[in-house]
Subunit: 140 residues, 2 copies
């Protein structure tokens, strides 16, 4: 059965690439470098809905996203979180945080209004991310 | 070298038990069933500061905490998150969320004031948690 991405995730983020069993997406909120890791399996809502093998796969991918965000943006902190109170479909946030960002030191969710990327900025961001993810890829 | 727990984590939570390489603590905020998973290794702040073997260990423990929270409280959603914007020492929140809780559907961090447990309620909660964690333990 084909994977069906949640409509809100689809609207609020843009496809970056596929790694392992997961789809990587970039949040359209330009206030924060913000990646989503979404295992392409229907019906998941919690991390422990994944099998152990699937967990190993997404942990490796999560490490890759962290390395990518560190290398591109040198953030003060990473926030890695599976919340899903609004969108149930399992998605794991990876957000690069800075001591001068709008929500610091609070969480980013539900804070203020998203800032949209320009088309040019979004295209550039995607290109940078794909290159960095390629550079930080590890053999499985 | 002995593990040194961050002072704020020590103040805001209470020791439940040790599982694998991690110390499990209960947040003193009675508004939410809220566990902390803290690897007992000095100098960590990000998930990917852990070695792969350590990541496997904490993933298994995280699954155990999720199973425990589900079995005890039947939450509408779990929130599993490594943020650390305020306390840098790596700690992974596991919060049982309900559609009627104070912060729903927003995140729990930085929302309102913590509600303290009575001594009796805290003792009972700890006893329940230790029993449930024992019941959900898996052989490594």
């Amino acid at each position: 059965m084909l994977f069906k991405l949640d409509e809100r995730l689809e609207k609020d983020s843009v496809f970056v690439c596929k790694i392992g069993i997961s789809q990587i997406r970039l949040s359209k909120d330009a206030r924060y470098p913000w990646l989503l890791l979404i295992p392409e399996i229907n019906g998941l809502s919690e991390l422990d809905d994944l099998s152990w093998q699937q967990q190993l796969d997404i942990m490796q991918t999560s490490n890759q996203l962290s390395a990518c965000l560190k290398s591109l943006y040198a953030p003060h902190k990473l926030n890695v979180a599976a919340l899903g109170n609004i969108v149930k479909q399992l998605h794991i946030h990876h957000v690069a945080r800075f001591e001068y960002d709008e929500a610091w030191p609070g969480p980013v969710w539900g804070k203020g209004e998203a800032l949209r990327y320009s088309n040019e900025a979004l295209a550039e961001q995607l290109q940078q991310l794909r290159k960095a993810l390629d550079d930080t890829s590890v053999s499985a």
